[in-house]
């Protein structure tokens, strides 16, 4: 009996230790042959996007079969996963589909291959310049833009009859209509991504492409001072959940948001209107938000599959994918030729985004931007939520940003 117990104890311990090595098993690879071998070539693309977008992409890339089999795999925490395995040919994907703002980090790490190694700049001539700009880091194009997103002025047609054309009109509207838990306008006023729309018309920037923060510039101080007068008429916390719930519940007449909000807003049976961004009276320029460009990047580990990767990129250069995404997911295509299609040009939201594409600022794709989000939001929270002195907070934030950028090296 004693021996039986000992044996059982050893067996169970061995099972436990053995099970801890399960994760070390070799990844079974299907036909991941290089171009020189016969048989279909498999291209693996990681993505962390909306299911509808992923399905549309998969359908489009299935057209390359049977010679090229494209597998779109959903990868949670895609950025972190790429950091871990980006240079390991056995674990890394061949390509990934993601927003452009991280490509600078991955390019700096050395895991990306410029797409110009596979297609020419001439092949990209129909792509909107703003999207190609967003895809460029240190003079090299690392991403093939597929669609872009930006913020729009959204309003509830039942509550707001005429959307404001200028920010003075907007402020007047807010003063008249903000009472008893209802707001004329609600936005994420202290989130850097949204607040930047108020900075750009003044010529202010969070960080430029030379990795120089601009938080203490005179333009930044002026833009924040101007924006601050709108804060008392908005929800104090300005969080995503608060703002979107207020709008969906009909307690906020208008908001600034992206296309990702639209399905929920329509499900809440809001009669949604899209209007051009109000013009800032003091500068004559419209509120100018950041834009995000979603596209495909190629990893260096896929360079041995040049022909297959080229085929994938050329397939995505066609207008088909842009038109499909516009129809299925209201995405604004990066390919300007897509707008000749009636379904695309007739979509109110896509048109609104196309108009703003002329003036929007792509999110900085440099690695240093990673530290700027927290610093900028700390500054905005101190000014907007705790009544901090604008100049003092800007100077403090600039110092903090510079020390964090230095700490990156």
């Amino acid at each position: 009996m004693k021996n039986a117990k000992k044996t059982m104890a050893f067996l169970l311990t061995a099972c436990m230790i053995g099970s801890s090595f399960v994760g070390c098993q070799k990844k079974s690879t299907a036909a991941t042959s290089g171009d020189t071998k016969k048989g279909p070539v498999t291209i693996t693309i990681w993505q962390e996007t909306d299911a509808t977008v992923a399905k549309t992409l998969q359908s489009e890339l299935d057209k390359l079969g049977p010679d090229i089999v494209v597998k779109l795999e959903r990868k949670e925490k895609l950025g972190d996963a790429l950091k871990l395995v980006g240079n390991d040919p056995k674990s890394a994907p061949d390509m990934y589909f993601f927003a452009h703002d991280k490509l600078g980090t991955f390019a700096q790490m050395g895991i990306l291959s410029p797409i110009t190694n596979f297609i020419s700049k001439d092949d990209m001539k129909d792509l909107m310049p703003m999207t190609v700009n967003a895809a460029t880091f240190k003079g090299e194009i690392y991403q093939l833009p597929v669609y872009f997103e930006t913020q729009m002025f959204m309003y509830n047609k039942k509550l707001m009859k005429t959307p404001p054309k200028t920010t003075d009109d907007l402020l007047k509207y807010m003063k008249e209509n903000t009472k008893g838990g209802t707001y004329g306008f609600a936005e994420q006023h202290s989130t850097a991504y949204y607040a930047s729309a108020w900075m750009h018309p003044y010529g202010a920037f969070i960080i430029n492409d030379k990795a120089e923060p601009g938080l203490n510039s005179q333009q930044m101080i002026e833009s924040l001072a101007y924006h601050k007068q709108f804060i008392p008429y908005m929800p104090a916390d300005g969080e995503f959940n608060t703002v979107t719930t207020l709008f969906k519940d009909g307690k906020a007449h208008s908001t600034i948001g992206g296309p990702w909000l639209v399905p929920d807003i329509k499900a809440a049976k809001i009669d949604l209107g899209i209007a051009p961004m109000p013009i800032v009276n003091t500068t004559g320029k419209p509120l100018t938000p950041y834009s995000g460009v979603q596209g495909i990047c190629v990893l260096k580990t896929a360079e041995s599959k040049k022909a297959a990767v080229t085929a994938v990129l050329k397939q995505l250069l066609k207008t088909d994918i842009g038109i499909s995404l516009a129809k299925t997911a209201n995405c604004a295509p990066a390919n300007s030729k897509c707008y000749d299609n009636a379904d695309v040009s007739g979509n109110e939201m896509i048109n609104a985004m196309k108009k703003t594409a002329e003036s929007v600022v792509p999110m900085p794709n440099i690695p240093e931007m990673d530290v700027m989000w927290t610093v900028t939001e700390g500054m905005l929270a101190a000014i907007n939520k705790n009544n901090g002195d604008i100049k003092t907070q800007c100077v403090k934030a600039q110092k903090d940003a510079l020390s964090k950028i230095e700490a990156m090296k």
Binding site: T13, I17, T105, Q188, D370, V371, A381, M408
Partner: protein
């Protein structure tokens, strides 16, 4: 097998697993802290010795000391309230004649069953939110204006403390409840015969009997509370939801100063320095508690 070696042989597999899961990451972090692993040298990092530590000590600037003092205050206040309140709840749950005590115990365990991330966000949105939170709804019913509970440092500190206590009570109540079951009832009977009242019984029998039993739980909870990150971060500092309150603890301070820089060498050095601080404090605290037991 030699009798002396046998216990080690039986423990060896478990120790190996613990070594792999706990010790290896610590040693690996220490190794990375002596390299220049960052975005600019992600795969081709090299050994740089103590350079990251020299840089890390500058992180302990004007903001670090207040963060450390705040962390100590956070730990002490949370532990005192936790132990006292959990003790009284456990004593009440063990009252003679109390009906449905199992139901009460089950309800009290509920916060423990919920994932911490979900609980914290529910508190943030459901209780403290300026528009929809329960507290502001009550204030509205009373004709008062809304309060931004999380933007002011003092109210944010108290708000986070309430959440921490809510999540921590089940463990402490369960530990004390179990410990109370182990106290011999004859002590109380003798005390009653000697004319002791409720307060005398609590202070002379219950508390001294409980101390050695709950000491490990208290020590464990003290260190968990000291290195608390998720409550402070999710309630006040999450990207996109920064409330403006400055209630940095040592861990959140280090996170904001170092971990977001993608400079793993530097962040690892900060982690090791915090680890050293905890390892210095740990023997002092546990030694003190153990000494009191012996006395």
């Amino acid at each position: 097998m030699n009798k002396k070696l046998r216990p080690y042989a039986y423990s060896l597999p478990a120790l190996a697993v613990i070594g792999f899961i706990i010790l290896f990451p610590i040693f690996y972090t220490g190794y990375i802290s002596c390299t220049n692993m960052n975005i600019y040298h992600w795969f081709n990092f090299r050994w740089i010795g103590a350079d990251n530590y020299k840089k890390a000590l500058f992180v302990f600037d004007s903001g670090f000391l207040p963060a450390l003092l705040r962390t100590i205050m956070w730990t002490v206040i949370n532990m005192v309230v936790q132990v006292i309140v959990a003790f009284f709840i456990a004593v009440l749950l063990n009252s003679e004649g109390l009906k449905m005590k199992n139901l009460y115990k089950t309800i009290l365990m509920f916060p423990w069953a919920m994932p911490a991330y979900v609980s914290i966000l529910l508190w943030r949105m459901g209780i403290y939110n300026t528009e929809f939170g329960l507290l502001n709804q009550w204030l509205k019913q009373l004709g008062l204006g809304p309060v931004n509970w999380l933007s002011n440092s003092s109210s944010a500190f108290l708000a986070c403390m309430v959440v921490n206590l809510w999540m921590a009570f089940p463990f402490m109540i369960m530990t004390i409840d179990g410990a109370l079951q182990s106290i011999d009832k004859s002590f109380y009977e003798s005390a009653t015969l000697d004319g002791a009242n409720w307060f005398n019984k609590i202070t002379k029998i219950t508390v001294p009997s409980l101390r050695p039993i709950i000491a490990p739980a208290v020590i464990l909870t003290t260190f968990t509370t000291f290195k608390q990150f998720d409550i402070i971060f999710l309630m006040t500092q999450q990207q996109g939801s920064n409330t403006g309150a400055n209630i940095h603890t040592v861990i959140t301070y280090a996170y904001e100063k170092a971990f977001i820089t993608n400079n793993y060498g530097y962040s690892s050095a900060i982690s090791i320095l915090i680890f050293v601080i905890i390892m210095i404090v740990f023997p002092i605290v546990s030694g003190k508690i153990m000494k009191e037991e012996v006395d």
